[in-house]
Symmetry: C2
Subunit: 320 residues, 2 copies
Amino acid sequence: MRMAILELLRASADHYLSGEEIALKLNVSRTAVWKHIKELKNQGYEIESLPRNGYKLLGSPDRLLPELVCRGLDNKVIGCQMEHFDDIGSTNAEAKVFARQGAADGTVIVSESQNTGRGRLDRSFFCPQGGIWFSVILRPDFLPQEAPKCTLMAAVAVTEAMRDFGLDAGIKWPNDILYQGKKLTGILTEMSAEIDRINYVIIGIGINAVIAPESFPEDIKDKAGSMSMFLGKFDRISFFRAVLQHLETLYISVKKQGFGSVLKSWRDLSVTLGQDVKVIGINETFTGRAVDIAEDGGLMVDTGRETCKVYAGDVSIRTK
Amino acid sequence: MRMAILELLRASADHYLSGEEIALKLNVSRTAVWKHIKELKNQGYEIESLPRNGYKLLGSPDRLLPELVCRGLDNKVIGCQMEHFDDIGSTNAEAKVFARQGAADGTVIVSESQNTGRGRLDRSFFCPQGGIWFSVILRPDFLPQEAPKCTLMAAVAVTEAMRDFGLDAGIKWPNDILYQGKKLTGILTEMSAEIDRINYVIIGIGINAVIAPESFPEDIKDKAGSMSMFLGKFDRISFFRAVLQHLETLYISVKKQGFGSVLKSWRDLSVTLGQDVKVIGINETFTGRAVDIAEDGGLMVDTGRETCKVYAGDVSIRTK
């Protein structure tokens, strides 16, 4: 009902719509209309009420509400189920709960902020309001060995969306998205699997969308950046929608034809390939040139003596 | 205290031990001793009480109680934490709960019976009393891609223990243990992982130990067997201890040197290699000869035209 009232207000655009008209059209009492309008205002919708004229929608909240994100989104999988939170420990943790309860392929959990957001290797991740913090639950039928490539897929989707918005970002292996050396996005992929079957994959994506540079904690200030630092203010909701669109296209392609086109796009968007890199692995540290990404998602590093495939650890690009 | 009383009873062997002696030695009241003895009897310990002489231990319960299984077990990892249940939904499900709560590497969850036990591909698994139904939580530091080989490791451990007990069983790829064509064991490995790090691996192992052949459900009667069908009655507790010992040896070796020795043992114990097999995969069915197991755990099948690596699905051995 609330959504129906919202649609009527949207449709009437600049005209005022009286409570009586709404009540008649939707076959509810005027009191009910009044209550729903109040609820919409609580959610952040700006609705003007004039005693004689009725109601007019002036603005929507800057919140990643499913009803706003999904307007005009034609996805068949990604985001068709979406749960929104104002604040949450971590969307990945919440997504696991949903996944265990049987949430559908493509379910999205999104929050305005996270208080225990974390990145790879248990590093904490700064997740204030203005960012886009979400997790996607996937239930693909490929083998668990393929799952790490979901991270590459997510990185490609977000980078493509950034480029749509005029930000010429690139991907640092495996899952950082950078612009002018600043990290704009972190991705943390987790999975639950049996030996030859994935139960679910959860891709956690944190995007520093509209965040003032001065609000970053001291220890990450040099390395972290936000989209708004470079783009100025932009529509976070439209951008999130674009990310979900790109993710849908890639995921459908992966399901049909495997990761070939994801790897191709990843290579095109990479800032790591062709660079001299330092690899800090679990047991060893070495340097070499990043030459390619392998079919299984590993980064191929030519040390001069041999070509190593790197799956884990940190890879930093060496400045000359 | 209960365990201390049990130890005293064991130490006194054929002699009666008076409540007063026990109370003195352990510095507790005679009433406390009496209560603990009563509790031990409830657990299935056979303890004779003679009014003038005191207590004598006649027998231990045929239950996989940690205090019984761990007697004489010198493991440093596997089974050092052990939780015992009389009946449970599934030990894998319970192990996940423990793992999420931070259970240590090597923690074992064991149950006398399972009411929702399941095998690969969600197939249900018959898990009555007399079997050995357990799950091991591992927290290895190898990459998630290696995890499927934990299944091979478990199959080797159980088969080696069976051979110790005089049963010349073999492994059918990837995780069935057979003797005279009857399936004695099922293994279901699950994991929770990030892209380059395992959170935990859970190896669920179900062994048809002491189960009367006539108690198997009609639909699996032809294919399933139990150890007791071939060995007669044997000590389930000692056998479980042997499995945990072999698992410890293999796991320590894997942690130090990788899966090389597991694969070598697997090859030696395999009933699949060298056989003509039918592979029923997700999307295709084909036949060929199983020629080897690859370093990554895949079964290599020579179809005559090419050698395929099989990771998933069912592989049946073709009788000539």
